[in-house]
């Protein structure tokens, strides 16, 4: 009985099976976020006076709002550890990283806690985004004429 239980447990946590399962979960969750974004764009752009570009920005703000809220409420960490790349590759991961590092350092004060650490996890995205965009921008501007 004990051995069978153990076998079942090891089977459940064997790396190969887990990898396939992780991939499927990441694909479905990530896909659902893309689908949610598209639905939000359709809804927002159906309102009067909202262009498709503005609807796109509103969609991003909505997803960021939801991920920040869910992170602050405490259950988004659990989702991220289960869904893996499905949740941290979309923009929700950026919002999650920002909010969770701000929450973690809240006890150290407003300035040296939240202020200094809010971009502790997500700052690298901004840094390497800006640096690479600048370098690629110069290349395109100089060699391809903008």
């Amino acid at each position: 009985m004990e051995k069978e239980k153990y076998k079942k447990l090891t089977e459940k946590f064997s790396p190969k099976e887990n990898k396939v399962k992780n991939m499927v979960v990441a694909f479905i969750i990530g896909g659902l976020i893309g689908l949610l974004g598209q639905i939000l764009i359709t809804i927002y752009s159906s309102f009067d006076g909202i262009s498709i570009n503005e609807a796109g920005s509103l969609m991003m703000v909505t997803i960021i709002f939801l991920s920040c809220l869910f992170t602050a409420l405490g259950f988004f960490d659990n989702w991220v550890s289960k869904a893996g790349a499905g949740l941290f590759v979309p923009i929700s991961g950026f919002a999650h990283a920002t909010t969770s590092s701000a929450l973690e350092y809240k006890k150290e004060g407003l300035v040296f806690g939240i202020g200094s650490n809010i971009f502790k996890l997500s700052g690298s995205v901004i840094l390497y985004g800006v640096v690479s965009a600048y370098i690629f921008g110069i290349i395109r501007f100089l060699f391809f004429g903008g």
Binding site: N22, G34, G84, G93, G129, A133, F136
Partner: protein, 116 residues
């Protein structure tokens, strides 16, 4: 059809992220940074514009679109104002995302406590 395309594209990008996460020593932070650089690189040759046109929100929600928007804003401004535009236009398109993240993260951090 655009709904299906959006699902497939963001699903595949997340799938690639998951494969990198499971098979290398890279952490989520490395992967998101890498994806931003890839997004900026793809936009250098206007490939990412094609993705956005074809896959809609699927291409917009992925972190790769952050790199795409950074270089897109910078180049649009550089086109109008010369090389200084690379500095002034860098955040022109991503402003909504960054501002929303800062504002919401700050407000919710003030309201809620860390769960441990």
């Amino acid at each position: 059809m655009i709904y299906f395309n959006a699902f497939i594209f963001s699903g595949i990008v997340c799938l690639i992220g998951q494969i990198i996460l499971d098979n290398t020593k890279l952490m989520p932070g490395h992967i998101t940074s890498l994806f931003v650089v890839i997004g900026a690189a793809l936009d250098t040759f206007a490939i990412y514009d094609f993705f956005v046109e074809k896959f809609g929100a699927g291409a917009m929600v992925c972190i790769t679109s952050f790199g795409h928007l950074l270089i897109h804003g910078a180049l649009a401004k550089a086109h109008a104002d010369g090389i200084l535009g690379l500095f002034t236009g860098m955040f022109s398109l991503t402003a909504a995302g960054i501002t929303a993240t800062i504002i919401f993260a700050f407000i919710f951090t003030l309201i809620f406590k860390a769960k441990d």
